[in-house]
């Protein structure tokens, strides 16, 4: 079986589990919306200020919600020791990495679409440069999912996983936060040309961590 077919099998399994358990819809999405709402309460009620900082607030909300999605992707493997079942099946480590990362990325893209709509409505943001925004979201999401899957397996099997994962992951994701926020700012300010270097940074980050994940996930998965 090819790596791509194995990856599709793992992604399909993870997405089916999420669609049936509804954890993403009933917990992760509401969490992201609450974060956005709290920012609106906590910061200046002047909507002009909120609109200016909206890109940063949006990506902070996505980042925090992604921690839940990544933790959940590995929690399902802990129940009933399903991880050993996957290992016994002899699936390629790269395929498991790609499948899990793809499932997380799809969940995050849906989450971003809904949170983005919430930000536009709540913070009174005018949307410009939709092409740049979409490319930024895609590259940042792939980077988030690849890095999260790689660090998720590092923390898998550790009793303090829930607290360890953010500690490991958040500093590494700082370039994604920075690049995505700046690219969104440039796009929304009607200067998409200024956003391309940031989109390129996000693309390089995504390719780099996907490559590292393909190479390193298998041995880490074996020993986790």
């Amino acid at each position: 079986m090819s790596v791509w077919r194995e990856a599709g099998l793992v992604a399909g399994k993870d997405l089916r589990i999420e669609s049936r358990s509804r954890v993403a819809v009933s917990q992760i999405l509401p969490f992201g919306l609450i974060v956005i709402l709290l920012f609106a309460f906590a910061l200046d009620p002047d909507r002009g200020f909120l609109a200016r900082v909206a890109p940063g607030l949006f990506w902070i909300a996505v980042l925090l919600a992604s921690l839940l999605a990544i933790g959940r992707a590995f929690q399902t493997e802990e129940q009933h020791n399903a991880r050993d079942g996957l290992r016994l099946a002899g699936l390629d480590g790269a395929a498991i990495f790609l499948g899990k990362a793809a499932a997380i990325a799809l969940e995050l893209l849906v989450l971003e679409a809904i949170l983005g709509t919430g930000v536009v409505l709540l913070y009174n943001v005018s949307v410009h440069g939709i092409g740049v925004l979409l490319l930024t979201a895609l590259a940042a999401t792939i980077g988030l999912a690849a890095t999260g899957t790689l660090y998720g397996v590092l923390a898998a099997g550790i009793r303090l996983r829930e607290t360890l994962l953010p500690l490991l992951l958040l500093p590494v994701l700082a370039p994604v936060m920075l690049g995505a926020t700046r690219a969104f700012e440039d796009g929304l300010e009607g200067a998409p040309g200024d956003a391309w270097p940031w989109v390129a940074l996000l693309g390089i980050f995504a390719v780099l961590y996907t490559a590292i994940g393909v190479l390193a996930f298998g041995p880490l998965w074996e020993e986790s």
Partner: protein, 217 residues
């Protein structure tokens, strides 16, 4: 008969504790070998070593022709382990769990329905794992092993949690294994039940096999 498992002075560490402290073991094709011994003797670790789920610290280990010190993955494709846990997903149905395992192991899932019938799980085939009773879960765990059509079947306390019907199903599967080209290595505390099935028995104690390496009786 060809060797399916060959261990020599096999040592496995759990942390710094030697869970296996120099095991010698030969398992021949078509055998049903019982590992007997008290709690903490190392039976589960021995099965997990053979399954390639724990690393060998020192010694030699060959399973289905693969040297476990070099490659723990290739032998796994031809063996299955029924452990204390089911290795299944709570939010997938019986049928979905079996289909996933079959496909992940390189099959097409064509044996899933037959396996469900053989295990008597037809009435709960579309229930999620999370809604099954303990006994039904144990049967499903057996099913996940069978859909992979393994050459080597590893059973860790296979009678645990099974009612009389479940035990009858288990016994039918184990007794039929040699005829289906399978070798069985099982660890059990239910010695009377397990001895009725086994073609040979060895004792494991304090991480060692206490009888010499041997062939089938």
């Amino acid at each position: 008969m060809p060797l399916v498992v060959r261990l020599r002075s096999a040592v496995c560490l759990l942390g710094r504790f030697p869970a296996l402290a120099g095991v010698d073991l030969d398992v021949h094709a078509g055998e049903i070998l019982l590992l007997a011994g008290p709690n903490g003797a190392g039976k589960t670790t021995l099965l997990r070593l053979v399954a390639g789920l724990v690393p060998l610290y020192s010694g030699e280990a060959e399973v289905l022709g693969a040297d476990l010190t070099l490659d723990r993955r290739s032998a796994r494709r031809h063996l299955a382990l029924v452990g204390h846990e089911t290795f299944c997903y709570d939010d997938l149905t019986v049928r979905e769990n079996l289909r996933f395992v079959a496909r992940a192991s390189g099959g097409d899932g064509g044996t899933v329905d037959a396996t469900i019938d053989r295990l008597g799980l037809g009435a709960v085939a579309d229930l999620t794992h999370g809604k099954l009773s303990a006994g039904q879960r144990r049967r499903l765990a057996l099913g996940t092993a069978l859909v992979r059509d393994p050459e080597l079947l590893l059973l860790d306390e296979p009678h645990a949690g099974l009612d009389a019907d479940g035990r009858a199903v288990l016994h039918e599967i184990v007794a039929a294994a040699p005829g289906e080209g399978r070798t069985v290595l099982m660890a059990s505390h239910e010695l009377d039940l397990a001895r009725a099935l086994a073609t040979r028995e060895i004792r494991v104690d304090s991480g060692r096999t206490s009888l010499p390496v041997g062939g089938p009786a």
